[in-house]
């Protein structure tokens, strides 16, 4: 088309860079790790919670709410890493990647359904293993 040819002829030959060293997403497993740790901490607070006065009941409900929210946040953070950060070549080097994500997401759901310190600890372990893989693909953890 003539218009395309004219535009091509007029197009600038030089570029200027509105540059950023990290142009797109900044990925970090830290968010998932913190969320998993928070779930563990909330399970501990719920288990410790004693008494039925209003203040205690308030504290209990707040702990459950935070556990629920951070288990969900943990899933969200994991899903972003899984869908946006990890690429097929990472899967070649870490063939168990999909399975690890799938299990960690399910583990986060288990932590929502239960008040189980062992389940929360397992979530932390699974998230930490994914973080290790993440940093392996980056050539090591930042010091």
């Amino acid at each position: 088309m003539l218009r395309d040819r004219v535009l091509k002829a007029l197009a600038p030959s030089r570029t200027v860079h509105a540059h950023c060293d990290v142009p797109c997403g900044i990925y970090d497993p830290h968010g998932a790790e913190i969320a998993a740790k928070t779930v563990s901490k909330m399970v501990a607070l719920i288990v410790e919670n004693e008494g039925s006065d209003l203040a205690q009941r308030n504290k209990l409900i707040r702990s459950v709410k935070v556990k629920e929210e951070h288990a969900e946040l943990c899933k969200r953070e994991l899903q972003v890493l899984w869908s946006d950060y990890f690429k097929p070549e990472h899967l070649e080097a870490h063939p168990d990647l999909h399975d690890r994500f799938w299990k960690a997401l399910k583990q986060a759901s288990t932590c929502k359904q239960s008040v189980d310190a062992a389940a929360a600890a397992e979530l932390e372990t699974q998230v930490a293993a994914i973080a290790d893989i993440f940093w392996a693909t980056k050539g090591g953890r930042p010091s």
Binding site: A11, P12, R14, T15, V16, H17, A18, H19, C20, D21, V22, P23
Partner: protein, 126 residues
């Protein structure tokens, strides 16, 4: 639109000719929303010949870390030695003087002052 064309022509045909020859396309998003990737800009190569760039002005400057590449940024300040500090308008997604420090006046290539494309945003830029 007519006003924009008038404003473009006002500084003179020479100026326009110089700027047209030095037109550039924007790559990257660190100047968003002022400049978007793919924008065509006219750059006046002699804009700063007599007067140093002032804080707030857009500049095209050689990348101090990769001098064959040109950057487009905004002057955020002049330091005590008269060197320029550059910043992207999108602070969260810009590599600028916070990383590479101040730049010399000699590395300034010109002033982007007019957007040709896209037509929807045709006109002077600040």
């Amino acid at each position: 639109m007519l006003a924009a064309v008038g404003a473009a022509l006002a500084p003179g045909v020479m100026h326009l000719g110089r700027s047209w020859r030095a037109r550039v396309a924007v790559v990257g998003t660190s100047m968003a929303p002022t400049l978007m990737p793919g924008d065509w800009l006219l750059v006046d190569p002699s804009a700063f010949r007599r007067r140093a760039p002032q804080p707030g002005q857009l500049v095209v400057a050689a990348d101090p870390r990769q001098p064959e590449r040109d950057l487009v940024k905004r002057v955020s300040a002049l330091d005590l030695d008269g060197r320029l500090l550059l910043a992207g308008d999108a602070r969260d997604a810009s590599t600028d003087s916070r990383t590479f420090g101040a730049i010399d006046l000699a590395s300034i290539r010109g002033r982007p002052w007019f957007r040709v494309r896209p037509m929807a945003r045709f006109g002077r830029i600040g």
